[in-house]
């Protein structure tokens, strides 16, 4: 089955984002495909490249990087959610004259059209958090 995920919750508060990553890994392990993960609202913080996690806590970014690297999962940050939270790629940093990019390169900044496209091309859309 083809899944897409909509992640609304912050990577550092609550459990939505962690459950989403675990769900994605488990679904792939069972032979399903994850078409796209769309990060909206507080979920957009997931793409932060500059976060530093305490040694005795789990890294909230790495599970997503593994999904992108090992399984080609597309990680899409909603542009309106991302920009107001300081989540910028090189293009947006240039466009808005900010000092530099702040998102990991495994993530892309996209519009809500990519969420629409995900619903059209997936058997299931699963929402996490909110």
């Amino acid at each position: 089955m083809i899944y897409s995920l909509l992640v609304l919750s912050s990577p550092v508060s609550g459990h939505g984002a962690r459950h989403a990553a675990t769900f994605a890994h488990s679904a792939i392990a069972r032979g399903h495909r994850i078409h796209r993960v769309f990060f909206l609202d507080e979920g957009a913080y997931t793409g932060a490249a500059l976060s530093v996690f305490p040694q005795d806590e789990s890294d909230r970014l790495q599970p997503w990087l593994d999904l992108a690297d090992e399984h080609g999962v597309e990680l899409a940050l909603c542009i309106s959610s991302a920009l107001k939270r300081g989540m910028l790629d090189d293009t947006e940093a240039d466009r808005h004259e900010k000092s530099g990019a702040s998102i990991h390169q495994a993530f892309s900044i996209t519009g809500l059209g990519q969420l629409v496209d995900a619903t059209a091309h997936s058997d299931r859309l699963v929402t996490f958090g909110g």
Partner: protein, 123 residues
């Protein structure tokens, strides 16, 4: 997107209009779905019915007025706007004064609406 890709979508909104950024974000999703020619219904449930109150003024908190945004829903071709009748009753919502025409649904009707959708986007 071809007609075969057109799925029945239901956006479920349970957040207050100004209590968090999710209230606005969920509406933006509904509008985007409609703008991309998807068949989308919206259901306001629980605290979410507060988005439909008449006479909202958000100037003092520096964010966009949700009531105005809701008034534009018909322009976007949103198919139907539904309201959880229990939530409406709890908050004393006058369904004749909402910014967009709404249909009240009881719990069994909400179950049926959700069962009928291809995708639920739950906020």
């Amino acid at each position: 997107m071809s007609k075969a890709d057109r799925k029945k979508l239901l956006v479920v909104i349970r957040h207050t209009p100004y209590g968090s950024s999710l209230g606005r974000a969920s509406l933006d999703v509904a509008l985007a779905m409609a703008a991309f020619d998807q068949a989308v219904d919206v259901l306001f449930m629980g605290d979410g019915v507060l988005q439909l109150l008449a006479g909202q003024d958000s100037k003092a908190i520096g964010v966009k007025n949700i009531e105005k945004l809701l008034g534009s829903l018909p322009l976007y071709d949103i198919e139907s706007v539904y309201v959880d009748a229990a939530g409406a009753k709890r908050y004393g919502l006058d369904s004749a004064r909402t910014p967009v025409p709404v249909t009240l649904l009881d719990a069994p009707a909400i179950n049926a609406l959700m069962a009928d959708a291809d995708h639920l986007l739950g906020f």
